[in-house]
């Protein structure tokens, strides 16, 4: 389900999310679950650091040769019978995919989970073109029925309880079940019908391999295999940074991605698709399309600091490790991508005036960077984005503080006056230009201004001399 962009209201939304105790409990459970699984898998991963470094190298190598590799990918995919399309932005991608659907007289579309299709708001466009669109990943199916956006890269419906899902299935599908296995079976049966009558399958792409023209899809449910096996047409939408130079690089990435995402040694299903079905085969799409999407990414490659965000392969580990995400969840971020990497991607891909607050919604604790298997230094990028937002105009508080701090005598005088008049800083919340101070002081007793260290030291030294 598509979401309205509300990144502009990130601050207010994060505050509301904090007050939602149900959400907090679900997030606490989910993020601990994922971190626990991941931690156990990495503990047992022999040669982990080397494998991480190889995956990072594969990703950075691809970025450093991106235009050449995209051309190579196009050449090899075309040779394998894939129709390759280039989309500069979301509107072009939507037009290309609805065009393919119209040309093939498509009525029913099954979709695998794909963040990029959410990014370009594909579903409403396909529906407007007369198609019946079904999200088939169980979590995506649930949020589609609920009319909500996904709340987590890996588990889109983690915010929904079984009771809510049962209610939803009863209301929207007239299917009745209680237990989680029952509900899962109901979804299987409902969607199986759709797979068997679908005219087109749409997926994202975890990777595409330049050397071979292959598209690689990673999943656990089998819905992506269904979407690429049963319908006659398969469209894979790939954001352009997801290229791997060689199949060997792709294999190095496959070694790390599932472990970091879900703690699995390998996801249940990995599909390596190189072109449509070959002559004599009885299943698999007859027609395969690869849509290469830019939507703002190509501009990022010129920035030596920020382009590191393009290395991400969406394992979602930084979300689970982030104390802010653990507290507010995905919806508060107001766009498709949430958590640390989401903050970076949204800031880079969306209009700047919508995302000013995003890089400030971070304590810079660095849990994300310590977690990222690809070594992305999110806090460093966060700081670069803050500079970009500030655009040379200093925050007034920081300005005033810096001015004082550059003049030690004035600084000491100011602190001295404050200590004399208000040593317990009762007046702190009344300082102008610092919204949030009163909330801060409500929940924390301010520190006491004491006789400063330098003065104490001078006194001690005098006493020692005497």
């Amino acid at each position: 389900m598509m979401m309205e962009l509300t990144t502009r209201h990130f601050r207010q939304q994060s505050a509301s999310a904090c007050r939602d105790s149900n959400l907090r409990a679900v997030l606490d459970h989910a993020t601990r679950y994922f971190m626990g699984k991941r931690g156990a898998a990495l503990e047992a991963f022999a040669g982990r650091d080397e494998h991480f470094a190889r995956a990072r190298s594969a990703r950075l190598n691809a970025l450093s040769r991106l235009p050449d590799l995209l051309e190579e990918l196009e050449r090899n995919a075309t040779a394998a019978g894939v129709k390759v399309h280039w989309a500069a932005d979301a509107a072009e991608a939507r037009a290309i995919i609805t065009g393919i659907a119209k040309a093939a007289n498509v009525r029913v579309i099954v979709k695998g989970k794909s963040m990029v299709t959410e990014e370009i708001e594909l579903n409403p466009a396909l529906e407007a073109a007369g198609a019946d669109v079904w999200e088939t990943d169980l979590g995506e199916f649930i949020v589609q029925l609920a009319g909500e956006p996904p709340s987590h890269i890996i588990a889109p419906a983690i915010h929904k309880s079984r009771a809510e899902v049962a209610e939803l299935f009863a209301e929207k599908l007239n299917l009745h079940g209680q237990s989680i296995p029952e509900l899962t079976l109901l979804a299987r049966e409902a969607l199986r019908e759709k797979f068997l009558c679908a005219d087109m399958g749409i997926t994202g792409a975890n990777m595409a391999v330049a050397e071979t023209g292959s598209v690689i899809l990673v999943e656990n449910e089998g819905n992506i295999r269904m979407s690429t096996t049963c319908p006659p047409v398969h469209v894979a939408l790939m954001s352009l940074e997801k290229v791997a130079a060689t199949m060997q690089d792709a294999a190095d990435i496959l070694r790390v991605l599932p472990r970091s995402a879900t703690g699995q040694k390998m996801s249940s299903y990995v599909s390596v698709l190189t072109g449509p079905r070959k002559e004599g085969e009885t299943d698999g799409a007859r027609e395969m399309h690869l849509v290469i999407l830019d939507n703002g990414r190509s501009e990022v490659l010129a920035d030596p600091v920020l382009r590191e965000a393009l290395a991400c392969f969406r394992c979602g580990a930084c979300l689970n490790s982030c104390p802010v995400y653990q507290t507010i969840g995905g919806h508060a971020y107001g766009s498709v991508y949430s958590g640390p990497i989401g903050t970076l991607l949204s800031s880079l891909l969306l209009p700047q005036d919508l995302t000013r607050d995003l890089p400030f919604g971070c304590t810079l604790c660095g849990a994300c960077a310590r977690t990222c298997p690809l070594g992305i230094n999110h806090p460093k990028l966060m700081l670069a984005l803050r500079q970009r937002v500030a655009n040379g105009r200093a925050n007034p508080v920081s300005s005033a503080h810096s001015l004082l701090a550059r003049h030690p005598l004035a600084y000491r005088l100011a602190v001295g006056v404050a200590r004399t008049l208000d040593p317990n800083l009762h007046l702190l919340p009344r300082l102008p230009g610092m919204p949030g101070l009163s909330e801060f002081v409500d929940s924390r007793r301010p520190p006491e201004l004491k006789k400063p260290f330098a003065a104490r030291r001078r006194k001690t030294k005098r006493e020692q001399k005497q």
Binding site: Y33, E50, H51, S57, R59, L63, S64, L66, P67, L70, E71, A80, W86, A88, I96, D137, L138, G139, I142, I180, T184, A187, R188, T212, S214, N220, E221, G222, R225, L240, T246, M247, Q248, A251, D252, R255, Q264, K265, M266, S267, S268, Y269, V270, S271, V272, L273, T274, G275, P276, R277, K278, E279, E281, T282, D283, G284, D294, E299, L301, A302
Partner: protein
């Protein structure tokens, strides 16, 4: 913009970006040594499949394999099945592969709708990765993708010479299955355990869209 304009514009922006700030990825460290495929390979495979709720049955002879096939069909209470053709015929099970399944109805492959009723699907693994328990199956005529996907119960037969250490062998595996004209196969799947989801309250459920059970028959000879 037209399609060709977009293509040119995207590539141009990327090239200008790299020209303004070129960079090179550090050379990666050597890949850590793979586990070796030795006499204990079947044990290793069983050990990694166990936590995935996949049972490995080892057959020392084609006759034993036929017994396992029949046992699994009984256990899964299957009435219908679909299977790969020549690849499984070549195993020379006594009386032919279907002899072990004589009381079941074999469904002919075709479009997916043809197999909607299949209870059981049999395929041959082109590789089994000891590190992750992944089974590689390569699609080809007579080797339909849906056989390991549509039926609620899936059976994969793994010959001894299919045992490989880990996913770093993926490129070699694909190359081995190149078509006569040099093209790669249209589809290679790595199957690691049954279909699974934890999308509702993070409770693991097997068999959401793909098979809910997966049985592996190890063939202790080279095929």
């Amino acid at each position: 913009m037209s399609a060709t304009q977009s293509r040119a514009a995207i590539l141009d922006t990327l090239r200008k970006g790299l020209a303004a700030a070129p960079f090179f990825a550090d050379a990666p460290p050597a890949r850590p040594a793979s586990i070796s495929v030795g006499p204990d390979a079947w044990e290793l495979l069983a050990g990694v499949l166990g936590p995935l709720e996949v049972r490995l049955r080892l057959a020392r002879t084609p006759a034993e394999a036929a017994v396992h096939v029949a046992d699994i069909a009984r256990e899964r209470q299957a009435a219908t099945y679909t299977r790969w053709d020549a690849a499984l015929n070549a195993l020379n099970l006594p009386g032919g592969f279907d002899a072990a399944l004589s009381s079941l109805e074999r469904l002919e492959p075709g479009c997916c709708q043809n197999l909607a009723r299949a209870d059981l699907g049999f395929v041959l693994a082109h590789a089994a990765l000891l590190e992750s328990g992944s089974l590689a199956v390569v699609a080809a005529p007579g080797q339909h993708r849906s056989a390991s996907l549509l039926p609620p119960a899936s059976v994969v037969l793994v010959p001894r010479n299919a045992l490989l250490p880990d996913v770093s062998h993926l490129p070699a595996l694909l190359n081995r299955h190149r078509l006569p004209a040099g093209a790669l196969p249209a589809c290679l799947n790595l199957i690691t355990g049954p279909s699974s989801t934890a999308d509702i309250e993070l409770v693991l459920v097997r068999g959401v869209h793909g098979p809910g059970t997966l049985d592996v028959i190890g063939l202790d000879w080279d095929v």
